[in-house]
């Protein structure tokens, strides 16, 4: 038990008249931790384990058909080549969303640090982060009002050019990316901002007094020093985006077929749970590989 000890005074044993019977500290540590980790086991870890087992089954164990354990679900990408195209589509949507978020978000963070101060900055930060903590589904839905034919965007255009056609692009891949960028941009602004405020102003002043132009300052100082923020923001955006399904469904219509929607279909339409499970686990493998690659940067990012 020498490893389980309180860091506080109680390790020095009973102190004073009011401490009667003191439990060994490892017992109370266990009591404090058990409910949380028991709950997480029931709700997250056991389900993931069960899904792993299901991914090797030949069919959903609901009917009378005998269940055989097989690797065929993991061969889906070979047996059903169209899945490869869908996988690439998901990765491309993830790539473009992350890229737009990185560029727009990094510049916004630079603008926050360089152009605002005190109360103004605080209010702007809250305004930027506020939508992030509201319902993502409703925000995606709201883009249909803007992008649809004869929607807000078209009406705006017709105020300037009454004879112009429709520029609404709902039910395209662009619409999906716009909706996703809208959803995750605040996150990138936050991670870049946290990295940028840590940079000493004196470095930038020194550079500019020595004649550095703004692009030199941007690419030689700000980007390298804010790289941890950019990378952790990118990882934490790319991962949920490749697993997204409601954004492609609502904004993509018929072209919105991604890994996310295929997995959703296996559970809600096709009732092929083993295939859904194996696709989910393939996705999870990608997610874990990304986390493993960037774990060093992410740990430094969260240790702030």
């Amino acid at each position: 038990m020498q490893n389980d000890r309180l860091t506080s005074a109680s390790e020095r044993g009973p102190l004073g008249p009011r401490s009667r019977r003191v439990l060994p500290s490892w017992v109370s540590t266990m009591v404090l931790l058990l409910p949380t980790y028991g709950w997480l086991t029931l709700a997250v870890f056991l389900p993931l384990l069960t899904m792993f087992v299901f991914s090797f089954m030949s069919a959903t164990p609901m009917g009378k058909a005998p269940i055989v354990f097989t690797l065929k679900q993991y061969r889906a990408f070979i047996d059903q080549p169209y899945l490869v195209g869908i996988g690439i589509n998901s990765l491309l949507i993830g790539f473009w969303t992350t890229l737009f978020c990185a560029v727009l978000g990094f510049l916004a963070a630079v603008a926050l640090v360089q152009s605002t101060l005190g109360k103004t900055r605080e209010i702007l930060l809250i305004l930027i982060l506020l939508p992030f903590w509201t319902n993502g589904l409703v925000r995606v839905f709201s883009w249909t009002m803007v992008l649809r034919e004869n929607g807000f965007l078209d009406n705006l255009l017709h105020m300037i050019a009454p004879d112009a056609g429709s520029i609404g692009f709902l039910y395209t891949r662009y619409a999906i990316v716009v909706g996703l960028v809208h959803g995750y941009l605040p996150y990138m602004i936050l991670t870049c901002y946290i990295a940028l405020v840590a940079i000493d102003d004196a470095i930038i002043e020194a550079a500019s007094s020595l004649g550095a132009r703004w692009w030199t300052i941007l690419f030689k100082i700000l980007v390298p020093l804010a790289a941890p923020g950019l990378i952790s923001g990118s990882v934490l955006i790319f991962i949920p985006v490749i697993g997204s399904f409601m954004e492609p469904r609502i904004l993509g219509g018929r072209v919105g077929v991604t890994m996310g929607t295929v997995i959703e279909d296996q559970f809600t339409q096709a009732f092929n749970w083993p295939l859904g499970a194996s696709l989910s686990f393939t996705l999870l493998a990608v997610v874990l590989a990304i986390f493993a690659t960037f774990s060093g940067v992410l740990r430094r990012g969260t240790a702030v």
Binding site: R5, T7, S8, A9, L15, G16, P17, S19, V22, S28, T29, V31, L32, L33, T36, L40, A43, V44, F45, L46, P47, L48, M51, F54, L104, L107, A108, A111, L112, Q114, S115, T116, L124, I126, I128, P131, W133, T134, N135, G136, L137, V138, F141, S142, T144, M145, N150, L185, P186, G243, S244, G260, I263, F267, W273, A277, S280, L283, L284, V287
Partner: protein, 259 residues
Amino acid sequence: MKPLGRIYLVAILIFLYTPILVMMAMGFNASPLYELPFSFSLQWYEALWSNTVLLTAGLNSIVIAAITAVLATALGTMASVALSRRTFRGRSFLQLMLLPPIAIPWLITGTAMLIFFYWSGIGRGMHALLIGHVALAIPYVVLVVGTGFRTIRADLEEAAMSLGSTPVHAFFSVTLPLLYPSILGAALFAFAVSLDQFVISYFLATPGYTTLPVQIYSSIRKGFTPEINAISTVLLLGSMTVILIFARFAKPGDTRDKR
């Protein structure tokens, strides 16, 4: 550079808020097909008032969020006490184990829950939703309360104990009052996480027991009217209010020592 930066920030805010404001405005537009020009009408809010399906789903969401807030805050705060104030073997592993509910895409967690709850006989419905929502909220509670712990000095509690207080008494009379804003903030945060949760709920809800986001999603897919804008507006304003109150209480980023 300064004015350019400010113009850019305003552009970002316009990008972030335009769709939301358009969506909200359309809830007050008389046309059922979202046609312009705009003519003000409260008819969709009146229709909402008699739409028992949406109202029931909304009530379910609030009940689930409230229970989630209480349970997740209680469990998460307990875990946070152990993780912040004690050293033991496996602590960093346990901290790492808080990440999967946040970091793994909800689609994967949600479908895994669906399989496990079906297979184990737990089933779907309100209790399944609660199991899922509490699990998603706990990591946030541990993080928020853990940040609170970092701002209070451990030696205050030690001082109380060296003066004869029991560890439990010292915790409740010294640490808890100092931690109170963080705990309240964590509870609000858990409430908001549950209120806005869609993906997990989508897989665990039953036709007889849904939450508001699930009901909104099925309405969007089946063909919708401005009633959906009306209820969405109420939902957005509700969660924005909760988050703004949270920001006042927990002061995220405020690490000044409360001594």
